[in-house]
């Protein structure tokens, strides 16, 4: 019968984890909302605790869910077709992440190429310029806002350049880890994964250092006008993604130590690697657009 040639698609039986995950997101969203309000009003409230509770439930959910999935994977329930489903799912998730960053890159483009020029009188905005802020100079980086906040720009030489090199190298080490996995060289796989994680950790530490430098020495802060806004939100969200990617890689590393993954089947490794390469590409765009240009 023709049906024999098609593998059975494993539809998991009931699972509590999705519902637990929804509860976690409820507490995170509800808690974060109240936490933000509490901070802005400088009052003590329950928001922070709810947020924390939500995060704890989320971690609990992720551990439980992934344990189930890894067990199912190790017991061979997943067919090649399901592997394709997972891969496609991850790819489209990364596309959605790209679009999230696009919103901020788009804002940066608009602010720099259009809004700033118009505030400086470009196009038909001569009167806007004359009447609102006649002393405003439309130069990028926007180190003096129309409202008068002054700051300094972050140079691309030095730390950012070093960080770029570090992150690009980490993409290569991860690639060599992958080839190690595919060629059954487990030693190379482990060594290269450790190197990738180390480089990621160094990158993040240097980012923290750069932030401290920006706040203390340059007076470049989140609220220092459009330049500071886009600088911190773009690099900040990127940093969050690197952290996330590093945590995923860390768990992949633990699974490697336990002897998981074969040259043919290693979706978790593949997904983590794609994610890492994606944050790397975002950084290169960021470095060019936010720092250099």
């Amino acid at each position: 019968m023709t049906t024999k040639t098609y593998e059975k698609y494993y539809v998991p039986a009931q699972s509590p984890w999705p519902f637990v995950g929804a509860v976690a997101l409820f507490f995170i969203a509800f808690g974060a909302g109240h936490y933000v309000i509490d901070i802005s009003k400088q009052q003590s409230g329950f928001g922070g605790y709810l947020l924390l509770l939500g995060l704890i439930i989320l971690v609990f959910m992720l551990v439980g869910w992934f344990r189930n999935v890894i067990d199912e994977s190790m017991s061979g329930l997943y067919s090649a077709q399901m592997d394709r489903s997972f891969r496609q799912g991850m790819s489209w998730f990364i596309v959605s992440e790209v679009m999230f960053f696009m919103a901020f890159f788009g804002a940066l483009f608009y602010g720099r190429v259009i809004a700033m020029q118009w505030l400086g009188g470009a196009s038909n905005n001569a009167m806007t310029f004359e009447l609102l802020w006649p002393n405003f100079e439309p130069v990028w980086p926007l180190i003096k806002t129309p409202g008068g906040i002054e700051t300094q720009a972050m140079p691309w030489t030095g730390l950012p350049l070093i960080n770029t090199i570090i992150l690009v190298i980490s993409s290569f080490t991860l690639h060599f880890a992958h080839t190690g996995l595919e060629q059954q060289k487990r030693g190379q796989l482990k060594l290269m994964l450790v190197l990738t994680l180390l480089l990621g950790a160094i990158f993040l530490s240097l980012q923290v250092y750069e932030y401290i430098h920006a706040y203390r020495d340059l007076g470049l802060q989140l609220d220092s006008g459009f330049y500071g806004n886009t600088f911190f939100l773009l690099t900040g969200f990127h940093g969050v993604h690197v952290t996330l990617g590093a945590i995923i890689l860390l768990f992949v590393f633990f699974r490697v130590l336990k002897g998981h993954f074969t040259p043919e089947k290693h979706f978790a490794f593949q997904a983590a690697a794609w994610y890492w390469h994606f944050v790397d590409v975002v950084w290169v765009c960021l470095f060019v657009i936010v720092y250099i240009l």
Partner: protein
């Protein structure tokens, strides 16, 4: 397209240890909380959407009550603003989108011969996020200072400088709604891409599958942008950034650009699956194959691509350069071409068909006529100089309610009547359904058609009071609104009656129905197509 079901009768040698789950429904509340079954999840989405439709509808009733007569009657302006805002948010994100996702969950696996959605657990997560997200949004109405009151489009600086504290809750609830939509969309794409039964080639897929496939791409592309823009609103309001504040080098118009880059594809997210539904129903009741199947697919794709290039037609009055307004005007009018192809094909399908007029067909026919009216008023709005007159008036309200209520909502109702016998195994009460249709049709036009006139005469939208010359029309509109709201109670009656029993439906249900979903028994078994059918 002929379909051969090669479901083997001797399951035991084909299936492994989880065979005992076969057609054995788990019991109790856990069935719904922990489910991985696409039909259960689809049902939950649809019930959730119906509940939200009535909550959002109740808010619309408050709005119409206040506008029944000129002057301030029942509610404070601030509360009125909260009603218009939350009505919009609930109807868009809580009613129409989840209803389409519910239909996708129920029907796509059955239409392509798949055992379930590709990622069943993530599917359940997508659903269960929604009740919590809307709980947060609704709870925010009871906060000191009130809930969101800046319109569903939350333009800065209304949502930043001038908004109440609850904005943070609004932002985070939109974030988790977005997570839900993105996961749902990924699931739809992967299911369609990877789970089609052997022989179900791309160009054999039913149009509902095609339109949802394209819709899912739109969701993946624009929901993250929405997440980005609400994040900017959050940081602008609470953390001192100035994305939308000119004093810090930003621009309030930047908000509108980012929002509508999300927002315009979003409105097509709410209409493309409707095209798929109508393209399923019309051929069934005309007993003819769909006219121009391939052109329907290409038209859908064209509309989706164009939807990314037209966002600024919502912003003609913001003072964009003339070149930009011209570009967006022509790009917008271009969309009328593929949409016209669709309407033409539906009409051509019916041409010399052996038509009958059961309730799904009635709603589908009303869809074609009334959605086209909404499309035409959209064309009027696309003309930049004319838009200067129409902008922010009730004409706009009339336009988008024609495309969303008599468009999207009518298509959802049509779909529910069309597939209800397949879901429940019982035929719905035809005469009650006809009552529902005619009451809805008459009241919805009484409700929305006069809005064109008051809009053209200059009545602004989102204002709780109006000039005296609009009084008569507004009284008509309000009566239409109340009647439309009441008519939907007939719908609930039909649904409950049908779920509880009725004339048993056959497998094919409708004489002219074609497709895999009509090959399985009615009601559809808990698990379908565990072994893929072969489509020749």
């Amino acid at each position: 397209m002929s379909v051969v079901i090669t479901e083997p009768r001797d399951h035991d040698d084909q299936h492994d240890h989880d065979h005992e789950h076969h057609d054995h429904k788990p019991r109790g509340i856990k069935r719904w909380l922990y489910t991985t079954n696409h039909k259960d999840i689809g049902t939950m989405y649809l019930i959730f959407a119906l509940v939200m439709f009535f909550i959002g509808g109740a808010m619309a009733m408050v709005i119409r009550l206040e506008l029944f007569q000129p002057g301030m009657q029942f509610v404070e302006p601030h509360f009125f603003n909260q009603m218009t805002t939350v009505h919009g948010l609930i109807m868009v994100f809580g009613a129409v989108m989840p209803a389409f996702t519910g239909l996708a969950n129920w029907m796509i696996p059955m239409m392509i011969g798949a055992p379930d959605m590709a990622l069943p657990r993530m599917n359940n997560w997508s659903f269960w996020i929604l009740p919590f997200a809307f709980l947060i949004l609704l709870l925010s109405l009871f906060m000191p200072g009130g809930g969101p009151s800046f319109g569903w489009t939350f333009y800065a600086p209304l949502s930043t400088t001038y908004s109440s504290d609850s904005t943070a809750l609004f932002v985070f609830s939109v974030h988790i709604m977005g997570i839900s939509s993105i996961m749902g969309a990924i699931n739809v794409i992967v299911t369609i891409w990877n789970m089609r039964a052997p022989g179900m080639t791309w160009m054999k897929m039913p149009l509902f599958v095609w339109t949802w496939f394209i819709t899912a791409f739109l969701l993946i592309m624009v929901m993250p942008v929405l997440a980005g823009v609400v994040t900017m609103v959050l940081t602008d309001k609470y953390f001192g950034t100035s994305f939308f504040d000119a004093a810090g080098g930003g621009d309030p118009v930047l908000f509108q650009h980012i929002f509508w880059f999300f927002g315009h594809p979003e409105v097509y997210i709410m209409i493309l699956p409707a095209f798929g539904i109508v393209s399923a129903i019309i051929p069934t009741f005309a007993r003819k194959r769909l006219f121009g199947y391939a052109s329907m697919v290409y038209a859908t794709a064209s509309i989706a691509i164009l939807s990314f290039l037209v966002w600024a037609h919502h912003m003609f009055t913001t003072g964009m350069p003339v070149f930009a307004t011209l570009f967006f005007m022509y790009a917008t009018m271009l969309i009328a071409v593929p949409t016209g192809v669709k309407v033409f094909n539906w009409v051509a399908t019916m041409w010399r068909g052996a038509m009958t007029f059961e309730v799904p067909m009635m709603f589908a026919l009303a869809f074609i006529v009334l959605f086209t009216i909404g499309g035409f008023s959209g064309l009027m709005l696309a003309i930049t100089p004319a838009d200067f007159q129409y902008h922010d008036t009730y004409f706009v309200v009339a336009h988008f309610h024609y495309v969303l209520v008599t468009g999207a909502v009518f298509s959802i109702v049509a779909a529910v009547y069309y597939w209800l016998p397949k879901w429940t195994g019982n035929m719905y009460d035809e005469s009650l359904g006809q009552w529902h249709f005619w009451c809805s049709l008459i009241s919805v036009n009484l409700l929305f058609f006069p809005m064109h006139f008051v809009g053209l005469a200059g009545m602004p939208r989102r204002i709780p009071d109006y000039a005296l010359q609009f009084a008569d029309f507004n009284a008509f509109i309000s009566i239409g609104g109340f009647l439309f709201g009441l008519s939907q109670l007939i719908f609930v009656w039909v649904l409950i009656k049908c779920a509880r029993g009725g004339v048993k439906a056959t497998d094919q249900v409708w004489e002219g129905a074609e497709g895999l979903e009509w090959e399985v028994p009615s009601p559809a078994p808990y698990h379908t197509f565990e072994t893929p059918p072969v489509i020749k």
